[in-house]
Symmetry: D2
Subunit: 395 residues, 4 copies
Amino acid sequence: MTESAAFKSGRHFLQIPGPSNIPDRVLRAMSKPTADHRGPEFAALTLSILDRIKMVFQTSSPVLMFPSSGTGAWEAALVNTLSPGDRVLAFETGNFATLWCNVAKRLGIDVDWVEGDWRHGVDPAVVETKLAEDPNGEIKAVLVVHNETSTGITNGIAAIRQAIDNAKHPALLMVDGISSVGSIDLRHDEWGVDVTICCSQKGLMLPPGIGINVVSDKALANSQSAGFAKSYWDWAPVIKMNEKGFYPYTPPTNLLYGMDAALDMLLEEGIANVFARHHRLAEATRTAVFAWGLEFCPLNPSEYSDSLTAVWMPDGHDADELRKLILDRFDMSLGTGLGKVKGRVFRIGHLGDLNDLTLAGTLCGVEMGLGLAGVPHKKGGVDVALQYLASTSAE
Amino acid sequence: MTESAAFKSGRHFLQIPGPSNIPDRVLRAMSKPTADHRGPEFAALTLSILDRIKMVFQTSSPVLMFPSSGTGAWEAALVNTLSPGDRVLAFETGNFATLWCNVAKRLGIDVDWVEGDWRHGVDPAVVETKLAEDPNGEIKAVLVVHNETSTGITNGIAAIRQAIDNAKHPALLMVDGISSVGSIDLRHDEWGVDVTICCSQKGLMLPPGIGINVVSDKALANSQSAGFAKSYWDWAPVIKMNEKGFYPYTPPTNLLYGMDAALDMLLEEGIANVFARHHRLAEATRTAVFAWGLEFCPLNPSEYSDSLTAVWMPDGHDADELRKLILDRFDMSLGTGLGKVKGRVFRIGHLGDLNDLTLAGTLCGVEMGLGLAGVPHKKGGVDVALQYLASTSAE
Amino acid sequence: MTESAAFKSGRHFLQIPGPSNIPDRVLRAMSKPTADHRGPEFAALTLSILDRIKMVFQTSSPVLMFPSSGTGAWEAALVNTLSPGDRVLAFETGNFATLWCNVAKRLGIDVDWVEGDWRHGVDPAVVETKLAEDPNGEIKAVLVVHNETSTGITNGIAAIRQAIDNAKHPALLMVDGISSVGSIDLRHDEWGVDVTICCSQKGLMLPPGIGINVVSDKALANSQSAGFAKSYWDWAPVIKMNEKGFYPYTPPTNLLYGMDAALDMLLEEGIANVFARHHRLAEATRTAVFAWGLEFCPLNPSEYSDSLTAVWMPDGHDADELRKLILDRFDMSLGTGLGKVKGRVFRIGHLGDLNDLTLAGTLCGVEMGLGLAGVPHKKGGVDVALQYLASTSAE
Amino acid sequence: MTESAAFKSGRHFLQIPGPSNIPDRVLRAMSKPTADHRGPEFAALTLSILDRIKMVFQTSSPVLMFPSSGTGAWEAALVNTLSPGDRVLAFETGNFATLWCNVAKRLGIDVDWVEGDWRHGVDPAVVETKLAEDPNGEIKAVLVVHNETSTGITNGIAAIRQAIDNAKHPALLMVDGISSVGSIDLRHDEWGVDVTICCSQKGLMLPPGIGINVVSDKALANSQSAGFAKSYWDWAPVIKMNEKGFYPYTPPTNLLYGMDAALDMLLEEGIANVFARHHRLAEATRTAVFAWGLEFCPLNPSEYSDSLTAVWMPDGHDADELRKLILDRFDMSLGTGLGKVKGRVFRIGHLGDLNDLTLAGTLCGVEMGLGLAGVPHKKGGVDVALQYLASTSAE
């Protein structure tokens, strides 16, 4: 492949909420020569990473990393805690919840699937009811996607935890934090999450390649009796080897160099500040969408996501045609509609390494694209976003 | 982590046959900004990679890539072609054969395990006998590690194929080519391999993070009826999505940038030239070891590996003490003895991106280390290696 | 220095028209290991660069590169063509014209200095008059800054050439193209420029470190009799050594790797397309400034620069306070007012590697900054710029 | 240019004592996005660099940096301290002393040139005699190349200082430390050097692009009355602007990022340890050359250089043919013979970022090359070098 094929002058705006923009500091860290992953220096790096990453998850539990995508981390969570035929409660909040459900089904897990319209989050009352109807504890786990990357809906994990407690039900709480961790507050310990699932390429500001499980004591206890045959995803050897800074597989060395730099960046900024920054940038985005007179995919404002905004297209207008136009004219990649909302939704990613002017440029691209594509909308979205950003900018 | 901790002036010699040295051209390619893996340019890159990589495996079959380590690629090969309780034939040729056997066992596969002494390769006659004793075809697959990274033994895949054919047995032939592909001749099609297993970090000159399966028509046919529950490792969605240049998971984008550059390098040099280069460098290494009067881990010279040389320590001398001394004094990482040969063996990696003078520097480090560690040996290993390299250098 | 000191999350906007933004492709090219600058591969690279760079200057004359800043290239132009005490004609169009004049004076050149108000370009009629008043040809050279980086004024080189011709005067025409070359049309040959002065860090999209002289036959002829003692800046040995791909000094190897990549980028896009892109982005910027109701530093619209826009602050408002606020709040560096217009002017760079959305983000930052700083202005600058960009975007 | 042209598998050995090998840490630092060189962060970086670099020169005097090659730094030293027609005393110790002399002559300086055979250093007794014969102090400066990169001869600066003092002569002592600084002990203050000349690409482990002058109080005082017209090289504005962290020209930003990292590396190792490392590696090299039975370019062992070794070829054998063979066969660049010793000498660089095994690989390449080129020599050079390195390696 020649490089020229990809060249357009100026910086590409990557605002898919898939992999986020990688800070140049992380890219440079990843270009270090690969080291011996069985040597003493790499072990020290591993121990430091495994220690510092706990602050991002707000946990004192072990954080386990697999060379995998986020889908692998879903599978790892299931096969370590459950047995074939086990029943789990899950909610159709969007494409990724559906894909996770499919993973579970393919593995032979019995999914109690609460259908949804992809425009609402999980109702804690339903959780409580469902669990109350299961006095024998046949439901082994509740599966929730914290932030649905396909719909821009953030679920209330604390309220769901409360619902489980209200029902006095022993089910594990498994939370997919793939597009929330590092961007939106997720408190593994305080909220009583049993397994938090994550991966490298969103709030952690890395390229894809690392899947993550954060594992509570209860989950760990459950894993002793879990009935799935497993090897690659088995937590036990990872935990054991990690103690001395090693892994039961060849780790993705250069990604870990990047992780080291990314953790430095997150902790230098302060994790609460990181969350506040994303909330503010998300608010600016929503202000613009509202001013354009466009609808949000989520119908409930309290469920708007701080890491991406999914915009609902007016009837008769195709989101992917808009996205293609914006890519061709303005060299910006926006997120496509996935699954049921294909063509109905486009997504503006504002997670990871982002600041005011990059977001402003992003919104400018959307506003110009809407006009050129003939999508009915009101002008002024950028204007109000700028007013919001200006009035809330830190002195 | 500060960078200073790792600083030693001058270039670190990474001669573990784990991850190989990464060419700076590949490192630079990997530092490109991450792209939209659902966009048209990335799809074009994927199609180009999937096309060119076939030349490295000498195959016209599909090459499937997973975000995983090599151990994941082992698991993928098993769960796509077999069913729980299936019987496979495998050989104890070293640590990685043993680990692969353990993966199979953990997954509930019945491994017919032919024990070995870690100093001999697979005897094709035993393969033939074993299969001849299985007239009902209960053995579903023969598992062979082409090049044992722990012992420096290369097995004769063509002869093993012949043995299977002689026995007229329908078992699949699965070959772990992790430390041979891109360094040692492996002919997936011509040798009738059904699944070749590989990963990114050795002959492909990348960091770890990609597991590979190359899949014959027969293996693909078998996968239709394979009984393992599976999701992440399922070949079917990968093959389907790859057709248009996409993946059923978020691919490791920046590693794929590196893969693009690494394939350019291998194909520019010519794959036959790459194999010849490694054979010559391996011969030089062996000449030195022989001159030192040290023993090889493999007892059969016809099984010496061209991608690494495992040296057997004289009784009473610990390989890891030698390795530690060489690391401390000369900033060179050599491969440790693994499993049963822990302490008995050290390994000199000469795979991946390597040339004469880097190998020469490596052998100098070993020769000095042997002396300083008080390991009984004769001088002159470097001398004869240099004579060999000089006399065989291309005009 | 720790990296953390410089960290702000998200991408810094560097819109000073000093060094321009460096494309990541160029940054990666520059990180190649340094080669032997006396070896055959580096010579081939040099010959290729010296050949291709002529297309950027639209010349068939030799392009000479010095390891220096642009100020060095000024000095080189003077000492190769003139003698101490020689008279030159120069124009006070802004800070860089003044600095160049000072260089000439320090070297003992007699500068016939046409004063100016920093808000108008060179009047070709004045050139003609001045030269007509010099029948004995005592004026040896006319010095013009093509694009004044301090004021955003572009001078009409073709008209100045015509004025010289009208006066039938033998003076050399020396043009500082530092902030025009690679962004604004400059035709060395067609316009009869004798020495074009340039450097690496603006339209050529490199870091600073290379000064450039493009030398006409007439200038070369003059250099035979030029009376300055010189060594470093002497054209003769550069021209001689360049013939075979070498230099009379150790060349800035890694910058030349970057130059190779930058030339690929410029020539892939097409130099006419590069100019058109900058004109369009400049128009968008001007549309915004006009809508804000702010004044331009240049008073003559026909002299507006396509590589930067210098904005004149309303009385009582300090440009540097605005710049500081924008840097602090929005992590964007704008150009400071230099020399006589210190505090009166801020400059928006839109040269080098730039596209629509980066410019849009830039204008958003300015509009927010104006508001927060209490600078009297009308809203809507961003709006009209977006309208312009959208309506002119290429299908 | 395609990258493929330059590809050879494995790492190129760059052992020219021109630009030295650049540590990957420095290369990564240089790939940071360019910053505003008039902004506060860059000023802080500059102040930090200018402070720390003094430790490398062992001085409390100002260290001035020019965007230039080392030849520019020669010129800067002369034009700031002298007047046209001034007389200086200089010594033909090799090619670079001769080039510096030529720079001085071209500038109109009257060089009192003590001829030499390129195989001996400066005799302090001659310095004393020459100065004693100049009671009126017509000699304004003594020019000495500390380490002759063309011949591998290191001159005794302390003894030369003593000779000047013995003669009670007021001449300035100007020392070219280009290939000694950062590799060989040079004490600017203690040895009473008035101007130390240096550049970026040798012991400072950077690419070329920065020329350096370190300036004593006496030199600074002289510069007040120096009669050369000058602009670019003028010390005064550099010193003035540096006070606040700025420069009177656009500084080579990305090289300064590299300088920041290189200084970190040198100071972490400790400057005395850096000198000791180079001495030891030089000794190993000399041991090999001696064992090969080859002659050194320097005839006086006390003048052997610790940053490079120049080897004198046996009669009838061409050094450049040997160099070409080694480059073609083993991908190693050695230094060519320059000027009078063209073809008679090849040079092994062992300055900058170097460790034991890289040097060992280098010597292996030379030994193989000598054999293949049919250069008469004894075997065993590598052997004795390894014995030396092993016996002196730090526990």
